[in-house]
């Protein structure tokens, strides 16, 4: 009677507990639930990716650097990224070291995409060298081409106002909050307007590569500043 009732209730409790544990285990086995949260192991797997660059002679032929310059470049590159490739996280980290006051992650993202020419999510040494070769040893035409590529976020051949605004905001972000004069809210937008006024010849709201190159070649300042970093390496 009462005792029997209670005893069976006790057994029922045990049964329920056992069933709950078993179902949890089943779900875990099926992979629907994850008990442990270690993504460290995942990261470790990624780190074992290795990439060896092409031969020195080949790179020398493809780029405009000498052997010695390539050696110096590679030493620095390999020091920071022993695995041989730079992924976006590392890239952002490295770039942010140079701009401690502001937030350079957005701009680094665009820069990464500009360097990652084959769009595989990582910048290998070849990409790195090719990019630097254009920037440091290329003709003005090539440099302007590269800059256009940077601004054209979706790589469709046109720079729209939105794309330009994104780029501009990213650049202003790198400055940070403590500037003089204080950054105004619409400064990027203003800057974009100025840019488009200068570059957009046919006023169709987008800048094409030809318009871009033409306008830049007419501007003395821009031409001069393109030569600024000739002897970086």
């Amino acid at each position: 009677m009462l005792t029997l009732e209670w005893e069976s209730e006790g057994l029922q409790t045990v049964g329920i507990v056992v069933i709950i544990c078993a179902s949890l285990k089943l779900l875990h086995l099926l992979g629907l639930i994850d008990f442990s949260e270690d993504s460290v192991e995942d990261e470790m797997e990624m780190a074992t990716v290795r990439h060896r660059p092409e031969a020195l002679e080949l790179l020398e032929a493809q780029s405009k650097f000498t052997k010695k310059e390539l050696q110096i470049l590679y030493r620095g590159f390999k020091n920071e990224c022993p695995s041989g490739v730079v992924n976006e996280e590392t890239f952002k980290e490295i770039y942010s070291q140079f701009f401690p006051q502001g937030d350079s992650t957005t701009y680094a993202h665009f820069l990464f995409n500009a360097f990652d020419t084959d769009h595989n999510g990582s910048v290998s040494f070849e990409d790195f060298v090719m990019g630097l070769s254009i920037l440091l040893r290329g003709t003005v035409q090539e440099k302007l081409n590269w800059a256009f590529n940077l601004y054209d976020i979706n790589k469709d051949g046109y720079i729209t106002k939105e794309e330009m605004l994104d780029i501009m905001k990213a650049i202003y972000d790198m400055m940070g909050k403590c500037t003089y004069p204080v950054l105004k809210e619409d400064a990027p937008r203003q800057h974009v307007e100025t840019f488009f006024q200068k570059m957009d010849k046919n006023k169709d709201g987008v800048v094409t590569i030809d318009e871009f190159i033409e306008s830049c070649q007419k501007d003395e300042n821009i031409m001069r500043s393109m030569q600024l970093f000739e002897n970086v390496i």
Binding site: T13, R75, Y151, S225, L228
Partner: protein, 655 residues
Amino acid sequence: MAAGVAAWLPFARAAAIGWMPVANCPMPLAPADKNKRQDELIILNVSGRRFQTWRTTLERYPDTLLGSTEKEFFFNEDTKEYFFDRDPEVFRCVLNFYRTGKLHYPRYECISAYDDELAFYGILPEIIGDCCYEEYKDRKRENAERLMDDNDSENNQESLPSLSFRQTMWRAFENPHTSTLALVFYYVTGFFIAVSVITNVVETVPCGTVPGNKELPCGERYAVAFFCLDTACVMIFTVEYLLRLFAAPSRYRFIRSVMSIIDVVAIMPYYIGLVMTNNEDVSGAFVTLRVFRVFRIFKFSRHSQGLRILGYTLKSCASELGFLLFSLTMAIIIFATVMFYAEKGSSASKFTSIPASFWYTIVTMTTLGYGDMVPKTIAGKIFGSICSLSGVLVIALPVPVIVSNFSRIYHQNQRADKRRAQKKARLARIRVAKTGSSNAYLHSKRNGLLNEALELTGSPEDEHLTKTTSLIESQHHHLLHCLEKTTGLSYLVDDPLLSVRTSTIKNHEFIDEQMFEQNCMESSMQNYPSTRSPSLSSHPGLTTSCCSRRSKKTTHLPNSNLPATRLRSMQELSTIHIQGSEQPSLTTSRSSLNLKADDGLRPNCKGSQITTAIISIPTPPALTPEGESRPPPSSPGSTTNIPPIGSNIVKVSAL
């Protein structure tokens, strides 16, 4: 900016071309890279091991030795490399710091050696990477504690010259080994603590019956005896407590300390009992108070190091103990509830309420299992078994932490004691070595004097006496010599060999064989190479004057102003003495280089032109310095002593 990233600066600058088309204002000029050297390999030779690296690697940290121009001081023109006379092992870590930007601390390295190297290379230890920083800090702290320990024990063992009575008493209490009285006190109190505890225990043992068939405890049967014992113990404890209170440097702190509280708690019940015996109402409380008498056993912690360590461990593991308690409480409540509801159905169950089940849970979790409460239902049994299994786990978890803490503290203490014991032996050995080296000066002085004597006499056969001294030694001796000349004093040189030798060199016809056999050491006029005594310096050779007590001897002092006869020379000497000194104790010979010699000599030069000094040459190395015997000082007028065998005194007067 991290140095490794400096390698990416060219890249960042190149990428800046992306800003050019959108720039509003013209760009500033780029800094010209004058002095653009091709990156070159530089060789760093550290104690023979060659390390090579790029110059730019080192220049990443320009505020360190290797990164700045400071390393040019170490540049070796002949081999075109930088030579450092330091440890190559640690240099490996330092160079890796330049290469990778992370400074690591190798575990096998001694912490102070590592610190020294870092200080040399101008690297702050704070930049040690996170991977090694913990280890570094731990070792450093350990080392600092050890040094502080040693310093403390040193300070403790210094016999401070003037301690007030109160301070002596306090020291005696804290450290019973300082004096016999303290030791006696220590043992007496220990004995009385033991007596008191044993009486407390024996009091309750039933011994014998009284007519009336009642088993009486001994305490009531021999009430008077026990009372007397108790009184005696409490007297002793009270006296001890008051003495400690009197001697304590900070009474307030002493009152608040744990040991004093234990003392008070130990003796309070007696006094309270004295006051309250008549009042029946509070007799219950009085009985309770007697319980506190057992706290006297804690007084043993003054006598036992281990007990103190245990207490300290428990205090330092307070958090682990707290965690243990907390987790046990949680588990007890959970299991008690479960057991209660599981056993609710069974008839005549002892699990009447949840608090009642607490007892079962505790007994089961600690695996005691008295068996006074057992579950009867199946569910109860299942949960009961789970309870006991989990109990083992919950208790086993924090216990190793407490144990390891105790072990660490205990071993530290053992090590401290061992170190203190070894320290004395170590210091003694170091002292012997040091005095050995300080005698070297005097040895060489003797040899120097001998050399001159030998040169003057031209006897070649004794050259083997001269010891070849290193350049550093001879320079050091020259320095001391200059000091002597500056002040006009001189160090005492004590050597039996010299006078014996000198006596054999020349004028041995004047030496009494008797005296020679008796190994007389007394004065021989030493030819001190002093420019102030031309008369003596022109003296062609050493002259010996034997022990002046031997009247048979004659002293030969050619070309000297002093009379040839020994007696007269003695007179002369004595006049010199009288003129020069007013303190006969001057003639005490000293053979150590320490300041005592100077201090003792200074009263001698009361501005008089004549300074008399006693130079005693150190005993030959076969004898230990401590084994040297000193001749007793002689009376002012006489320069004579009958010296004990084995030590000679050479008197020199510097005119």
